[in-house]
Symmetry: C2
DNA sequence: TAATTAGTTTGTTGCGGCAACATATTATTC
DNA sequence: GAATAATATGTTGCCGCAACAAACTAATTA
């Protein structure tokens, strides 16, 4: 951790450059005068900072503002063509890769099913193959590629780029950073899925001006991205955010968690818990269209299928989501009490059923948290839903660029 | 919230002044040369910064270092006589006030029993009376008094100095800041007990160089002080840290929490839960010396009395602490998974039984948390035990002084 | 006396702030 | 329709102040 504690003039310049760049990023189109007003910086200082950003091609002028008295303002925005970014999400049963411009607009994407249980090396090679396609696509566009972001469920050492432990993948100590850097010759960023999703939401999503929020990434497990005081909180070793393993022991479903313990919150509120709930309901022979759907589609009992049943009005599906939503809300309530956040954002694969989960989450939060605190917290769905972690992989590269680019020379 | 995001030269000076002052505070005695080495600042810069601190009487020279080659170093330390600080802790059933010097050394203290249930105004007046005694004592010492810190269990708006809600006191919207400022003419700082205790531990206690830790304040309830990235985390409105109200619903003790809900973690691990556990054990007529002790001392069933019984080897007392320790550890485990802290510090009234609780907390943490994370977390007792919040009241004044004093003119 | 370490002096570089100014437009008046 | 006023944007040149660098003095030991 390169934690310089002292300040000097270079630090001042970097701070202000980064601040102005981020402001232009999130508020574009915006004029120099508006930047000066919003930051409190002097007009002349803003001009100097913007000049530098223009020279580095990070920002460009997009023509005059019309209307209003006085000299028309020259509007600025971040240059989407500042470079491409590649993001890859390594899920438990799939791999997703995307190429975007600097503003996070998707230019290319590909998703493949995968099976992590079979072979770690095979899955890494599969990912590498798709990433190489993505790089080829980026080259065609004749743009520099700024980096490769890689997200995965589990605790990550981001400095070394090593996956420490992913309970749901049963993987330990995988040096993703080294592997992908050698094979792609790109700067590689490795990050936990929920952390990355939180950054995505802050840069491109529903948490743009929000300084304190939690991203709850729900899928096979439940992970948390803690965005506190305007930045990601990673804890002592970067493992912070394992919110799914808070021991709550609430209901009779005493499922053993992938982490090895019993009573973890996520076992009551993850994908599998919903499937369990549906199974239990089907066993007592209630009328449900789910068996019919499974037969028709030759499919197992999956979340998309249950969602489909719920959309068709199937009571067992809807009630199962509701139950899981209440269990989810119990954890949300606890987290809201702990963090006093402005927003709680639900994303990840399970969020495709957000419309069935959210009302129950909100209800449980009302019941289980301190009203003074929960009244302050807005509970919403991720802008990117099941793609939250993929866009997150992009976001961690862009976010780093927004602070580091400043050090680059002229293009 | 005066959140200036931009940086300028004044900011640089403040940052470095504060850094040097804090370094001298925590590492004294220390020379200018050592400060330069540790901070990376230029020798001449350090000299200039130290000169300013000397001129403001915040630091003083305490003579030459002896031994070693070269010119002997002039050692520096923070001037304990820079001013007095008054701290007041408003507990659920007591009031404690102390006067310390700038280094937190206690010069005077007084504690009175109180009963918040009877009359809020009466209790505030009682506190005010003792605080005025403290001020008089401070004046005798012929020192300026830097401020009054006030801690209380509950959520606090620190900017307004208002207690928003204290479940265990049944108080709402008490403008402590205004009341005490008018009556004492001192700068008044109001803070939640656990938050303040965390600051105390960081400035004066076992977390001096620790950037990421949680203070768990256990007494009538359980509060948390979240010290993250080297500073207190307060959340959106300053209510963060209500860790006691995480809904866990673990055991048959379905006690209604003071917050109005059921299943809050603190109901399984607070003072009253231990008393309940002892009562339940005594009812089934086990042999215990507790009834005898109660009769002898004409006392109710209190934590100090149960502790006394445990010290005498009483199995029921020891086992009750052990049970509560395990319940406490369950929450610790969840918090460790969420925060990946370097330390977990247990303090507050209940920590007088720390020796009986801690081993069980550690055992439960091992069982319920992810080993990669919990191996990183040291679980320790507060340096100040039951006084953690009182010293915390001092610490919030000193901490503010360490950053604000820099703005003062020459004395 | 030489070596070593502590701290000071003098001058340099580079930052943002300030105030005056040039520029470009709309609004108002005749 | 032309002249003038008002308004807002952005630039220029100068200043104070920050840390830094290098050369210095100071005080000690070997």
């Amino acid at each position: 951790m390169n934690t310089k504690l002292t300040a000097d003039q270079a630090f001042v310049r970097e701070t202000n450059l980064s601040l102005v760049l981020r402001l232009i990023h999130s508020q574009a189109p915006i004029s120099r005068a508006q930047v000066a007003l919003m930051t409190g910086l002097n007009k002349s200082t803003v001009s100097s900072l913007v000049d530098e950003l223009l020279a580095k091609n990070l920002v460009h002028e997009i023509g005059n503002n019309i209307g209003g008295a006085g000299r028309p303002a020259m509007m600025l925005e971040v240059n989407a063509q500042a470079g491409n970014v590649i993001g890859a999400e390594l899920g438990v049963d799939f791999v997703s890769v995307a190429v975007t411009d600097f503003m996070g607009n998707i230019l290319w994407r590909k998703r493949e099913e995968a099976d992590t249980n079979v072979n770690q090396v095979k899955m890494i090679n599969q990912t590498l193959q798709i990433v190489k396609e993505a790089i080829k696509f980026g080259k065609k566009k004749n743009q520099r590629t700024l980096g490769l972001g890689l997200t995965t469920p589990g605790t990550v050492n981001i400095n070394e780029g090593v996956l420490i432990f992913a309970p749901n993948l049963h993987w330990r100590n995988v040096p993703f950073g080294k592997i992908f850097a050698e094979q792609t010759k790109l700067p590689v960023y490795v990050e936990n899925d929920a952390n990355a999703a939180a950054v995505a939401e802050h840069l491109f999503g529903t948490a743009r001006q929000v300084q304190d929020f939690l991203f709850v990434f729900s899928g096979v497990g439940i992970g948390g991205g803690l965005f506190l005081n305007g930045k990601l909180y990673r804890g002592k070793n970067g493992y912070a955010g394992e919110i799914g393993h808070f021991p709550i022991m609430a209901e009779p479903y005493q499922t053993v968690c992938h982490c090895g313990n019993r009573g973890c919150w996520e076992t009551y509120a993850n994908q599998y818990s919903i499937i369990q709930r549906v199974q239990a309901r089907l066993e007592v022979k209630r009328s449900s269209i789910i068996p019919k759907l499974m037969a028709e589609q030759n499919s197992g009992l999956t979340i998309p299928l249950i969602k489909q049943a719920a959309d068709a009005g199937d009571k067992e599906a809807i009630d199962s989501f509701a139950e899981a939503g209440l269990a989810m809300g119990q954890g949300f309530a606890g987290l809201i009490n702990i963090f006093n956040p402005k927003k709680m954002i639900l994303g990840g694969p399970l969020s495709i059923a957000g419309e069935y989960l959210l009302p129950n989450i909100i209800q449980a939060v009302k019941r289980h948290s301190m009203p003074e605190i929960s009244q302050q917290a807005e509970i919403v769905l991720s802008k990117f839903g099941p793609d939250a972690s993929l866009i997150g992989a992009i976001a961690i590269v862009v976010d780093d660029a927004l602070t580091r680019f400043i050090h680059f020379g002229k293009k």
